[in-house]
Symmetry: C2
Subunit: 243 residues, 2 copies
């Protein structure tokens, strides 16, 4: 039986990569030409039809490939952050306060790493964002599902950080969705306007803190704990040294 296909057929991969390069400029996969694509891939135009039924088909393959390439690194990235945060445990603080501080620490680092990742893979985000409101319903749907998947990952992280008991699952899910969605929206500007990157990082950070405070505050009734939340998440120290 045809067991181990060595991956995707060589030409198929070449075409997908060519599409990735070209669609950055056209901002539409559907608008790519079969010959244009073949030219860029160094292949005969008609080879396209050996692998894909149409541009939508290629688009789905491209999305699938990119998502597979992105999701795992992003997971690893956050896991690394979580581990590096474990040894914070210091003394007799109550558990919730500890979790708050871990969340605060994880947040900032995760955001930075995420945008580093964006900087390293700009095409994926540019194309993803255009296709999210692009001409093909199937691609739009696929993108939405992919983003929902990222949001689910982030929700899982929040639970692992210990926010779950005070924040119900539904709220965690909603907050994660909002954060992921807005981070994605920011990527275009982050890529295209390097001079605004610092401001964007700060805006993302502020958004996350504001959302978390708002979501947590709604679920907490006693004043001292409320003050604690605001105190920990309310103001982030300037990015310089700790003192």
């Amino acid at each position: 039986m045809a067991d181990h296909e060595p991956l995707i057929a060589k030409g198929k991969k070449l075409l997908i990569q060519a599409a990735l390069r070209l669609a950055v400029h056209t901002r539409s996969i559907r608008a790519l030409g079969v010959r244009e694509l073949g030219r860029e891939a160094g292949l005969n135009p008609n080879t396209f039809y050996r692998h894909f039924k149409g541009m939508d088909d290629l688009g789905l393959a491209l999305i699938e490939s990119v998502v597979a390439e992105l999701r795992q690194p992003l997971r690893d990235m956050r896991r690394t952050v979580a581990q590096s945060l474990a040894p914070i445990h210091s003394g007799e603080e109550d558990e919730f306060a500890l979790n708050l501080k871990r969340t605060r620490a994880a947040k900032k680092e995760t955001i930075k790493l995420f945008f580093d990742f964006v900087e390293a893979n700009p095409e994926a985000f540019i194309i993803g964002l255009s296709e999210l409101n692009g001409s093909s319903p199937r691609l739009r749907e696929a993108l939405r599902e992919a983003i929902a998947g990222f949001a689910a990952d982030m929700a899982e992280d929040f639970r692992l950080l210990g926010l779950t008991p005070v924040l119900d699952d539904e709220s965690v899910q909603q907050v994660s969705t909002i954060i992921i969605r807005n981070m994605f929206y920011m990527t275009t500007e982050y890529i295209e306007r390097p001079e605004r990157r610092a401001a964007l990082l700060e805006a993302a950070d502020k958004l996350v803190r504001t959302l978390l405070i708002g979501a947590l505050a709604r679920r907490v009734s006693d004043p001292p704990r409320l003050l604690q939340i605001v105190a920990v998440l309310g103001v982030d120290a300037a990015p310089q040294d700790a003192r």
Copy 2:
């Protein structure tokens, strides 16, 4: 002197409206064909060149036209809401609590009216969103400016609702930007999936409340006031009757 031009030359308007109809399906103004456009407008293909230098040019005109058509109604809408809210003033409450309640009341109504407006002008939002990450840098820029304008309007409203003293201008601006951005991105789903509309309205409402709580809480230090904020904005009564 050539004083009152009767508006835009007839053919120009026809072409813009034709583009509005066609671009809803292609989700790209640039991808429109000159002949296709002429056909839809009932004009000769070449008439296009009498009014526009290229598709980008038409796109800018289209955006300008649509924005002019949208911004004023949206302003009026919010002004109406604000006025209908004035007589709330009841007795000896402190001013801040009053403003909080007015904000809460305005929020819900504004959101509903906004999405009613989306439902009535779906093409404008569909095209705007696609072109926001579309192929033309000039159109992207124009759209971003337009959205920033809407956000500025909303920030102005927040100030008028009396949130300014406790919330600094910068935060108001940022919160407004986030809200507007997310509402715009929700419009596609609102248009395409009628069965999800109720859920989207609730999600929008929750987003606004969460953001406001988070932003306000960060600027308030005394516990009773904090509790007040959460109490007023934290949970919205079910949409049924008041009791």
